[in-house]
Symmetry: none
Subunit: 437 residues, 2 copies
């Protein structure tokens, strides 16, 4: 098994001003291809500290994965530190320089002189393409005592650039190097139930799907309301591993059914967008959806247009924050608002019906709620949210269903959960299944 060390570079990390999430992300990926992780090291933006860490790690392990310190400024010193540890000088890599120039040409701006330093590499190293930014990555090898080598890969610290470089250039090479034993993983995503409820349901299946000794193992993680199930299978043989993974996936689906909306990199907006693209009118054209948002202030429309090609099903949406706007744009009765309050199923229903009628769309989603921190009452505390969904009945009438929720957390969380729950209700509607939430 290959041994490795993960090195993060940056004053903001050593000073604790930024939490290092890159190292955990990288560790997960290294483990997934069966590479052993001997440790993580974080050093400040110091040429000497970087060089010392590279020297220490490269004498002890087969692989050193570095992130950060590849920017164009004076405090970006990973290139220098690595060259010092390798005992070589920095030289300009013409391919890297051409790529950086190309980046600026594409956005029709002159290349700032400082960006030229990003094309410098330790002599003998090669550059790794960066598809999302100007800093190329670096691949090098350092000889270890006894004739073995330590492979070094350096990636930018900007997560998006690092993720892309990892997937395109680093992972294929490492998977080949690691050979043989693998950890095969799959992640299933759910929205709507809490982590402990999900765990209870999983515990009731196959003698306990989350038992620590089970293989494949099943664990849960939560991020922004999405409870994800990670299934990890350790095996020598990829074919068997895949079969075991499929069998455990089926058990998870038995336990949770349609609550599982997607897997691996799929997001809830992507899954809903794919369903909407397939939703056809009798004449074969794509059905249209509109939005009427109060407390989420445009977030639902933003999520519905996250996916490329959303113009197929979305033409426009309404952000009706004030009561008067609900009345003027969507025809929600001022008396209805006065009688039930703006945050009520009656108003959510009228918003969805009004938006559908006004836009001549096939479907309309509405959200009205109290995102806080102000505006809560004992009867309708902060977090009270009503969601409406309107569509045309087979008889040609506008009909609507509504649901009420009480979401925990702060303003950001309540808005996020509201929009995701609206997508979830839409998803069950498109699946023609009752929503169990």
């Amino acid at each position: 098994m290959l041994s490795s060390v993960i090195l993060s570079v940056g004053d903001e990390l050593t000073l604790g001003q930024t939490v290092d999430t890159n190292s955990a992300w990288l560790a997960n990926r290294l483990a997934a291809v069966g590479i052993d992780i001997n440790g993580h090291v974080t050093v400040p933006d110091s040429r000497e500290a970087i060089a010392a860490a590279v020297r220490y790690a490269s004498t002890n392990v087969d692989l050193l994965v570095i992130s950060g310190g590849l920017g164009p400024t004076e405090d970006d010193l990973t290139r220098e530190g690595l060259a010092d540890a390798m005992g070589v000088e920095l030289v300009v890599d013409q391919l890297a320089l051409a790529t950086i120039r190309g980046f600026f040409d594409a956005i029709k701006r002159p290349m700032p002189p400082r960006n030229q330093v990003q094309a410098q590499l330790p002599r003998g190293a090669r550059s790794i393409p960066n598809t999302c930014g100007t800093a190329p990555g670096i691949a090098a090898t350092i000889e270890r005592p006894g004739g073995a080598v330590c492979r070094v890969v350096v990636m930018p610290g900007v997560p998006k650039e690092m993720f892309a470089m990892w997937a395109l250039s680093i992972l294929p090479e490492l998977a080949r190097l690691a050979g043989g034993a693998v950890i095969v993983s799959r992640t299933l995503h759910t929205f709507g139930l809490g982590e402990s409820t999900i765990a209870q349901r999983l515990a009731a299946v196959d003698g306990g799907l989350m038992n620590r000794t089970r293989n494949p193992s099943v664990g849960t993680t939560v991020s922004h309301g999405v409870v994800s199930l990670r299934i990890n299978e350790r095996a020598d043989n990829p074919t068997t591993a895949r079969q075991e993974l499929d069998a455990t996936t089926r058990l998870c689906v038995d336990a949770l059914g349609l609550l599982i909306y997607g897997q691996d990199e799929e997001t809830l907006p992507e899954v809903v967008a794919r369903m909407l693209r397939g939703e056809k009118r009798p004449d074969g054209s794509t059905a249209k959806i509109t939005t009427a948002e109060s407390c989420t202030g445009g977030l639902l429309a933003k999520l519905l247009t996250d996916a490329p090609g959303s113009s197929a099903y979305f033409t426009h949406g309404y952000v009706v924050y004030a009561n008067a706007a609900k009345t003027q744009l969507l025809g929600v009765g001022a008396d209805l608002i006065a009688q039930h309050g703006a945050v009520s199923e009656a108003v959510a229903s009228a918003m969805a019906r009004g938006a559908r009628d006004a836009s001549e769309s096939d479907l309309a989603l509405s959200i009205t709620g109290i995102a806080g921190p102000e505006g809560g009452t004992p009867a309708k505390p902060v977090g009270s949210v009503c969601i409406g969904l309107s569509w045309r009945s087979p008889a040609g009438e506008t009909v609507a269903s509504t649901r009420s929720f009480l979401f925990p957390g702060d303003r950001d969380m309540i808005r996020d959960r509201s929009a995701k729950m609206a997508l979830t209700l839409l998803r069950y509607h498109l699946l023609k299944q009752p929503c169990p939430l």
Copy 2:
């Protein structure tokens, strides 16, 4: 100045299953009392790895702060690793044992036999009380080459227990040792220029604000298009430190002017929201703003309503994704769209004017662009975005200004930068200053 290393212990950390937030928390606290942080190290639950990390750190720095691996189970090996590095054996500390017994007496449960190992300390070390759990901390000293010593403190990895132990026992001792020296920090945020351009401007001030040897030091980081300047001042005296920080802040402001929109925890949406709340009509009521969004699909309205109390200035917004919606809702001429294309300054201007008129708001922001990945042409590649701002002139007419941009990156990035740039143009308008971007 005292030097230090932070060591975290745990398989869940090295495998990336848990993000290490303890190290950042500890680093913040060490910096606050003026202790220099040479690096962070994370090792798995391995006696050898812990001993090796302790040996390496303790020869190089004055202080080693360890968290994790103090539990009662077989994979808690920090006590053993530390003893190995110190070259001593583990002995039962009677005070620690009595404290652990007391913990179980207090919750009226018998002490499980395994908890007795938590009372073991390397010979010569002393225990540190734990007010929230069973694992006592450990304080020890290790002799360094040349006669100096490295002080070692070990705390539990459970954040709650660590925080309490830090506040009650560790901090007072370290503050005394550090003797009043402090690191004071401030972060300034900019949007609109790249990191290298910002660095060029800072390099031209005061002999180079980003010179590595300068105190206060200035470094840059980028997150989602926001380039932030971190100013760190090391000083013996908090009052002088604050003055130095203020002086360097003024130099940064001289170099970048109004490009700096906020500092520390402030976000661009918050800063703009605060300005909008202060924007008054002649009658003293708060001015209203509306939005007309195409490619951002609601994101701009979402950002404008991120802040609590946004109903003071925002009543509603339009998400006009399709051309027909631009015409029907905002009166943008179909011929105008045919002539100039939907992504044009002419259409951005008409969207902003139309939204302002339709909503009877005082201000309107519009965005139309090509977020991709499809839809680009040689003349208007993916990333082409036009932003419009409309307001009423003193003579009572609706006027509009427009700007064109070419943003790099993928669909997410282009939408994010477009919305932030719209907020930035609005900010300069409210400041009554020309926007230099």
